[in-house]
Subunit: 173 residues, 2 copies
Amino acid sequence: MNISVPDAINLLTRTPKVLEDLLLGIPDELLYANEGNDSWSPYDVVGHLIHGEKTDWIPRMKICLSNDDNKTFTPFDRFAQFEDSKGKSLPELLEEFRRLREENIITLQNFQLTAEDFKRTAIHPAFGTVTLQQLLATWVVHDQNHIYQITRTISHQYREETGPWRAYLRIIE
Amino acid sequence: MNISVPDAINLLTRTPKVLEDLLLGIPDELLYANEGNDSWSPYDVVGHLIHGEKTDWIPRMKICLSNDDNKTFTPFDRFAQFEDSKGKSLPELLEEFRRLREENIITLQNFQLTAEDFKRTAIHPAFGTVTLQQLLATWVVHDQNHIYQITRTISHQYREETGPWRAYLRIIE
């Protein structure tokens, strides 16, 4: 299925609300628990999504759309949230994400992207040439991926509790 | 982490809202698309969750709590939604799920389950002896599993569109 701007906006608009419904008011034992080692807690994931709104999606689209000589993306910092989220409560983070996402959707609408724009390219530090179309689809799937990560991390805490049913639950397989 | 009734209710209460936020108003191309073969669409998943509210979680808890001689669960029909959902719109299904979940949470509260009740058992047709505690944890994780399935199925439709980023997106790996 081809990504379109209206469908992307339809999906991207939902995420702040989905995160609020999944996370606001869950026990701290679930909010701050991860899947072991250096995996992320649901709290960490929200910070990561905020960092993406600030430094990834829209800034990278602007690079795709620019006529600069240097069209290489700044590498994304996958660990920024550990510093940036410090001292912030979950409601504060969710509110920040909601506001940034709202602003970014307005910016995306204002780009008035054409079929030609979708083909515009930039250089990804690991992958080389990528298109704006791929970037837009990735923004959408990236949200779904982290909603999945949150549901997976919550489920992880109860994996032993489910006993033999675990065999039927792909999320904790 | 041990499952408790308050934590289970905290999580189970969220799911109708999460489904609404994820699905109400998405393009039909996403709502009815699956992952190929006999996999389920997001629309199918909502019907499956409704059938679980009617025939699985609470009825099976009642069997665990009963003193009947025959404590074997009725096998769960994984395909019931294809008949039951026929002719129903997504808003109708979401409303039905919301109402059934609300009623079932009240029933769960009214059980006033004790630590002793958590150890009560019944016979699962495939697994043999299971406990009420395992059943309660499974109800919670089952919700997360199907939220995951919905995000995965939506993502699946865009997997080609993400280009090389697919390597970073576990949900479409």
